[in-house]
């Protein structure tokens, strides 16, 4: 018999390629008045950070790393010779509670390799969540990975116990899936997402009926993950897929995960350095889509389908659209302020509030801690009018190279990697 420590080693290692560790956006609940522990709602908490810069918020493990599928980017695929292990539901339940009570984590992210069938696997995963909720009155965060081929009833049951459910699209086109994840199917994944969206909205509508009884709980959101750099998809294709998922299935988050070296590499997918900067730019672009009212075509077009790795996508857009600038921060409407490089959503709101009472000057912006160097060529204030020449000159782009160290956009995803983080595969240099 394999001991618990060994199982945890294998089944945590197997789970680390899932980028999502978010624990925010759950309905408000807590342990007062109950016998157990747990609370959710409000800002997610990162209880630790590993040296890869990633947050540890949930205990992320697989039920088992045995798998019938053969996804070539995955260490758990059936063709891999990795050591296999399998938790019992009680082991996962106990680990979750023990870790939670010590405040190591704020919940569980449970996924699994697919064994016997999609339904059988889903049942194992659900059993853990059911025990946590019903036997132990656990009110912490639960994220369950679901399998699109599992029956709708089982997916609905998973949603009852979980705060978030997710299905990974993995790759943005069926063509790529056919080569790299031959068992997976984009259409089925999307139809399952559509079904989940229906459930989430149904429950939302129930909740708003004035005197109806409180409906049973259901996950408040779904998310997904796309692998970057394993196939030849361009950023335009990736962002187009993400945008579609946001609009048609109302996903909370799309995670982008740079394909990174795994033990047990597949002959179909040779290992290479993880495209960390590209991953980072995709997150920035994703932010622009969701919070800055950008359209995919503005960021990555058919003619120019890949993001500029040297500049953030907003700055890059501004440099391609110089006629829009300079923008007068004292007069411009919100949507135009959002387009100014170096200005985040919060500061846009602050500017809108402050300019009702005062005409903004550069010193005011300095106090907002905006990145002045980035901002200056693109704005006018009461005391600043950038030289037209500055905006027109070819050297403007050069001015922003090498890549600014500071991020323009804050997000809870991986931060900008320094160039030194790149692996040089050929030379074996790290």
């Amino acid at each position: 018999m394999m001991d618990l420590t060994r199982k945890l080693e294998i089944l945590a290692d197997a789970a680390k390629y899932d980028a999502s560790c978010a624990s925010s956006g759950a309905a408000r609940k807590d342990s007062r008045g109950g016998k157990g522990v747990g609370s959710t709602g409000g800002m997610g908490i990162c209880h630790s950070y590993t040296p890869d810069g990633r947050c540890v918020s949930l205990m992320k493990v697989l039920m088992t790393n045995a798998c019938l599928y053969d996804c070539h980017y995955c260490i758990n695929r059936r063709s891999s010779n990795v050591t296999r292990a399998r938790f019992t539901p009680d082991e996962v339940v106990q680990l979750t509670l023990d870790f939670y009570k010590r405040n190591y984590i704020e919940g569980l992210f449970l996924s699994s390799g697919i064994i016997r069938s999609a339904d059988h696997t889903m049942e194992l995963v659900i059993e853990v969540a059911r025990k946590l909720r019903e036997v132990h009155q656990f009110r912490g965060y639960i994220h369950l990975k679901t399998i699109p081929e599992a029956s709708q009833d089982l997916i609905a049951l998973a949603g009852r116990y979980a705060d978030r459910i997710s299905i990974n699209v993995e790759l943005p086109s069926q063509q790529s899936l056919n080569t790299l994840a031959p068992e997976k199917n984009l259409a089925r994944t999307e139809s399952a997402m559509g079904h989940i969206r229906g459930k989430i909205e149904e429950r939302h509508a129930e909740k708003r009926k004035p005197d109806a009884p409180k409906p049973p709980p259901f996950a408040t959101g779904q998310s997904t993950q796309m692998l970057v750099g394993a196939d030849a998809s361009t950023d335009a294709v990736i962002l187009g897929c993400a945008d579609k998922l946001y609009t048609s299935h109302r996903l909370r988050r799309v995670y982008y995960s740079a394909f990174s070296p795994i033990p047990e590499p597949s002959s179909i997918l040779p290992l290479k350095a993880p495209p960390l900067i590209r991953e980072h730019r995709l997150y920035q672009a994703d932010w622009l889509l969701r919070f800055y009212d950008f359209k995919v075509e503005e960021i990555a077009s058919a003619a120019d389908p890949n993001l500029d790795l040297a500049l953030d996508p907003k700055l890059s857009w501004a440099l391609r659209n110089r006629a829009t600038f300079p923008v007068d921060v004292n007069r411009a409407p919100r949507e135009l302020l959002l387009r100014i490089p170096g200005l985040g959503v919060r500061n846009v709101e602050r500017i809108l509030a402050a300019r009702r009472y005062t005409r903004l000057r550069l010193a005011d912006l300095v106090r907002l801690r905006v990145q002045m160097k980035k901002l200056l060529p693109f704005i006018t204030t009461a005391d600043h009018h950038p030289a037209k020449l500055g905006l027109d000159s070819d050297s403007l782009r050069a001015r922003f190279l090498p890549p600014p160290e500071q991020l323009e956009i804050n997000f809870d995803a991986p931060p900008t990697p320094a160039t030194s983080d790149f692996l040089s595969v050929r030379s074996g240099e790290f």
Binding site: D13, S31, V37, L68, A258, P261, P265, P270, D421
Partner: protein, 297 residues
């Protein structure tokens, strides 16, 4: 000029500020201190008469100011009391009721910075407290946990309600040098600060937690500065997993090289499994349907 000596707490500041405001004392005329050492240097102001209190009860400030003041009060910067009073003055006597919406204002910006630092400290306390199991209550059977934490600001009371909500089902104490919080299932209460030696050093689960931490780390994407900006070194001494960090970083290059040098595995044939067969059949018929759809003929 008058000197106001208060306890370093929001309520104490509020009581004094209400009186001063009612008496029309301008911010430039007040020196604030919460330092008992300094107290002897000054003549203590006696609390003003009840009449002043009455006038004070009519003071109206935006609710956002109360929240801001409560959080700024927990900061350790000695200038906070004076700054709070100045902003209070400007909001009321200065007739700048919109002041808090002016993030470009120097005073407001300063208060917001302090408040943000306090908020971050609270957030880090919620994240980095580590409970250690010390036993169970003989009568109720409830598990008892103790944690040690060293906050930067005076945040124990602000941070404690979170732990009450999250860990209502267990008994716990969080010990800090400044103040301690305790929960026994019915009541949250506070006692004076203690020293590090009062708290247990280890928990039987720490090893298993370190096992998890070691294995969830991906050596192919080392990014030390990102880790440290969110988990500054000052917290490491009280985090059981932090002892692994140096080793994980040191090994990472070799581990990745090992992966890159591993011989690639050929794909294995699909096992004989009914579900997998049905899945493959489904994929084939879907692909056929797609081809058919896009067939121009």
């Amino acid at each position: 000029m008058r000197t106001i000596v208060i306890e370093p707490e929001y309520e104490a500041w509020r009581a004094a500020a209400r009186q001063l405001l009612a008496q029309g004392v301008a911010p430039e005329e007040v020196l604030w201190t919460d330092d008992a050492q300094e107290e002897s240097l000054f003549v203590r102001e006696e609390p003003a008469a009840a009449a002043a209190e009455q006038g004070a009860s009519a003071i109206k400030v935006p609710a956002a100011f109360m929240d801001l003041a409560r959080s700024v009060a927990a900061h350790t910067d000695a200038r906070r009391w004076g700054m709070l009073y100045r902003v209070l003055w400007r909001l009321t006597r200065g007739a700048e009721r919109h002041l808090l919406t002016m993030a470009t204002d120097r005073d407001v910006r300063q208060l917001q910075d302090w408040s943000k630092a306090v908020g971050r400290d609270i957030h880090k306390m919620h994240a980095f407290v580590r409970f250690r199991l010390v036993g169970a209550d003989a009568a109720t059977g409830r598990e008892q946990f103790v944690a040690w934490f060293e906050p930067e600001h005076r945040i124990v009371r602000l941070a404690a309600p979170f732990f009450e909500k999250r860990f209502a089902g267990m008994d716990w104490s969080i010990l800090t040098p400044n103040e301690c919080a305790h929960w026994d299932g019915t009541r949250l209460h506070f006692t004076a600060g203690v020293s590090r030696s009062s708290a247990p050093d280890e928990d039987a689960l720490d090893d298993l937690w370190r096992t998890y931490y070691r294995n969830i780390f991906n050596p192919a994407r080392v990014k030390i500065s990102a880790m440290q900006s969110e988990m500054p070194k000052k917290y490491w001494k009280n985090l059981p997993e932090a002892s692994l960090i140096a080793g994980l970083i040191a090994e990472s290059t070799g581990r990745v090289r090992g992966m890159l040098e591993t011989e690639e595995r050929a794909a294995k044939p699909a096992p004989n499994n009914a579900y997998l067969k049905s899945l493959h059949a489904m994929n084939q018929s879907e692909a056929a349907a797609q081809n058919h759809e896009s067939d121009p003929a």
